[in-house]
């Protein structure tokens, strides 16, 4: 049902991403003009220079989140078309989010400041916690549909969306999305207690790219949840692409809304939560899915 689009659809990708980033930014600040205002503001500002930074790696780290988000969106279908519906779409998404392990640490280390480095290591501690639940959460729909291709996962939800009988997988997945976007409860690497952590020395266009990258990761994560758990473009009345968009915006709004309403999880507590609660639960979820697949349940 989901097909790869023509080559020119790749040029639509930045447009869709820009729209989603603007939407997320507008919801976050509560004003429609806020994305434009923030963008112009950062473009007009001077960038920071620190003593002996590793400029190439620093800039690479700051720019990679946006690139990773774009890569994630490549396999996400809008209705029945995606830019590239490759046979390992689920793993492709996971590979793109693993890029962030390097990106965030480099962004923190590259500036050669205390707080940046502390923030970078905080991210590694956090990533060790969310990555396994995220991977198990991604494995559940793949297991249920018998394929890693997103088109097959969407097709397998004809009749019953995966969110109904795999809620734990969806929660673990959203937990992972918050984790790699450094958002809300998972904003420990960007903590106010270390004056912004990884982002402590980012000003001007650097900051714009970094902030846009965070919103873009949230948006890509929200968009990917739709074909994986929420039935893709399925729904009455409206065309498939509009349903995809509406569902994406709903998930994105919910994620953005979490920001100042849930306390920030410090890495030591987060590790407890992830390894003692989430990993066993997601493994049980996978077991349940497996049993359903072989017909026992």
């Amino acid at each position: 049902m989901v097909e790869s689009g023509p080559v020119w659809s790749a040029f639509l990708l930045p447009v869709v991403l820009a729209f989603l980033v603007a939407y997320a930014s507008a919801v976050d600040s509560g004003s429609v003009l806020a994305p434009a205002r923030e963008a112009v503001r950062q473009v007009l500002r001077q960038t920071r220079a620190t003593v002996l930074p590793d400029t190439l790696l620093w800039r690479l780290g700051v720019g990679m989140p946006l690139v990773a988000a774009g890569l994630m969106l490549v396999v996400v279908p809008l209705g029945t078309w995606s830019v590239a519906d490759n046979p390992v779409g689920v793993v492709w998404f996971n590979a793109a989010d693993v890029l962030l392990w390097a990106a965030v640490w480099l962004a923190g280390w590259g500036a050669n400041t205390h707080y940046g480095l502390v923030g970078g290591y905080r991210f590694l501690a956090q990533a060790l916690a969310y990555e396994l639940p995220l991977m198990f959460g991604l494995a559940a729909p793949a297991l249920a549909s018998g394929s890693l291709r997103i088109g097959a996962v969407v097709a397998a939800q004809h009749g019953l969306w995966f969110v109904v009988w795999q809620p734990v997988a969806l929660l673990a997945y959203l937990f992972g999305v918050l984790g790699f976007s450094l958002w809300g409860p998972m904003s420990y690497p960007l903590g106010a207690d270390i004056a912004g952590g990884v982002a402590v020395e980012l000003a001007g266009p650097d900051r714009l790219v970094w902030q846009a990258g965070r919103y873009a990761l949230l948006a890509a994560g929200a968009a990917f949840a739709v074909p994986l758990f929420l039935g893709g473009g399925a729904g009455p009345l409206l065309p498939a692409w509009l349903w995809s968009l509406v569902k994406t915006l709903a998930v994105l709004t919910a994620l953005v809304w979490l920001r100042a309403r849930v306390p920030t999880l410090r890495a030591d507590r987060l590790a407890e939560l992830a390894w003692l609660v989430l990993v066993p639960l997601t493994l049980l979820q996978l077991l349940a899915v497996g049993l359903v697949e072989i017909g026992v349940i």
Partner: protein, 336 residues
């Protein structure tokens, strides 16, 4: 009006200030926070984010030096304003905005650049004749190489010297904590209290105000550090209402007490005289009597040693020493 001017006005319609609170500047800080809330703006968390350096109260010599350094590090366009009395908060923010919109003045500001590091590369070549002491002072741009020391497990790790304060968001005004850290674990801490500007006297602003307002102020800082920005904003609104003379109901305490996640996160953090950050947070919200600032400062190094930076910040925020209590009180003045 040219395009650049239009864009600047659009982009900098509300200043994003980095607040530097001087000893004795509590009233000014409260006024500025109120103004900022009315404008719909928010504070910056660091110098890179900020476009305005806003000094609340009168800064003494040490603080002024720190402020000059921070001012040189703020990215252009930037503005620097001082609020010396609460009534001037509105005008100060308006002045900051006007300065940010003034393109000609902004273009004239000196641009900050890091020190020239080309010379340091030559020092690398001839190391044979140097003794150990000289080697400690860089080839790295003149910065000292990190010393190594044993950590709590006996491993030799790099040690950093950090100064927490004086200009740090959600940090008690006038406090400077010089810490030696390995990684982000604090191994040693030393408390310094900034000298107030001449003419700044006690008693503390909170003396004349209903008890729970001071507690709400401290609780707002702690909640903000814990990540609960919206709850912190509610606490600040309640604090302002109490300072204005109203007596709002205590539903905040119930709301925070019910948050099991916050309790799990704060339990056991910063143990001091039988309480931890969670019990102290509830005490702050209740308006319970607070320990003497001098005692807290004396105990602070011990409380903070061995904690990592995150828990140390939470511990200090929950202890919330009011350094204005240490200001000299002018004799013969009743009630300040």
């Amino acid at each position: 009006m040219g395009l650049t001017q239009r864009l600047v006005r659009f982009a900098f319609s509300c200043p994003r200030p980095l607040l530097a609170v001087a000893p004795g500047g509590t009233a000014c800080r409260l006024a500025v926070e109120r103004e900022l809330r009315a404008l719909g703006g928010r504070q910056a968390r660091n110098a890179a984010e900020a476009d305005t350096l806003l000094v609340c109260g009168s800064a003494g010599t040490e603080l002024s030096e720190a402020l000059d350094l921070i001012w040189s590090q703020l990215p252009v366009p930037k503005a620097r304003v001082a609020v010396t009395s609460p009534e001037h908060a509105h005008d100060a923010l308006a002045e900051a905005r006007a300065r940010l919109h003034d393109i000609h003045a902004q273009r004239g500001l000196p641009v900050d650049k890091p020190p020239d590091t080309a010379m340091s590369m030559d020092m690398n070549m001839d190391m044979s004749g140097m003794d150990m002491e000289a080697m400690m002072m860089g080839p790295f741009g003149g910065l000292p190489v990190a010393r190594r020391a044993a950590d709590r497990d006996g491993l030799m790790l790099d040690q950093w010297q950090l100064r927490l304060g004086p200009v740090l968001p959600d940090w008690p005004a006038g406090l400077v904590l010089s810490v030696t850290t390995q990684g982000d674990v604090i191994q040693q801490a030393e408390v310094e209290v900034l000298a107030a500007a001449p003419g700044v006297t006690g008693p503390s602003f909170w003396h004349g105000v209903h008890g729970s307002a001071a507690g709400l102020d401290g609780a707002a800082r702690l909640l903000s550090l814990a990540g609960l920005g919206s709850t912190a904003a509610r606490a600040r609104r309640l604090r302002d209402a109490i300072v204005d003379g109203q007596r709002p109901a205590g539903e905040m305490v119930r709301a925070v007490r019910g948050s099991r996640m916050l309790r799990w996160l704060l339990a056991g953090v910063g143990e001091y005289s039988g309480g931890d950050a969670w019990t102290r947070l509830l005490g702050l919200l209740d308006g319970a009597p607070r320990p003497d600032a001098g005692e807290v400062l004396a105990a602070l190094p011990e409380v903070v040693t061995g904690l990592d930076l995150a828990t140390a910040r939470l511990a200090v925020a929950s202890l919330d020493p009011d350094l204005d209590e240490l200001l000299p009180v002018r004799s013969g003045v009743a009630g300040g």
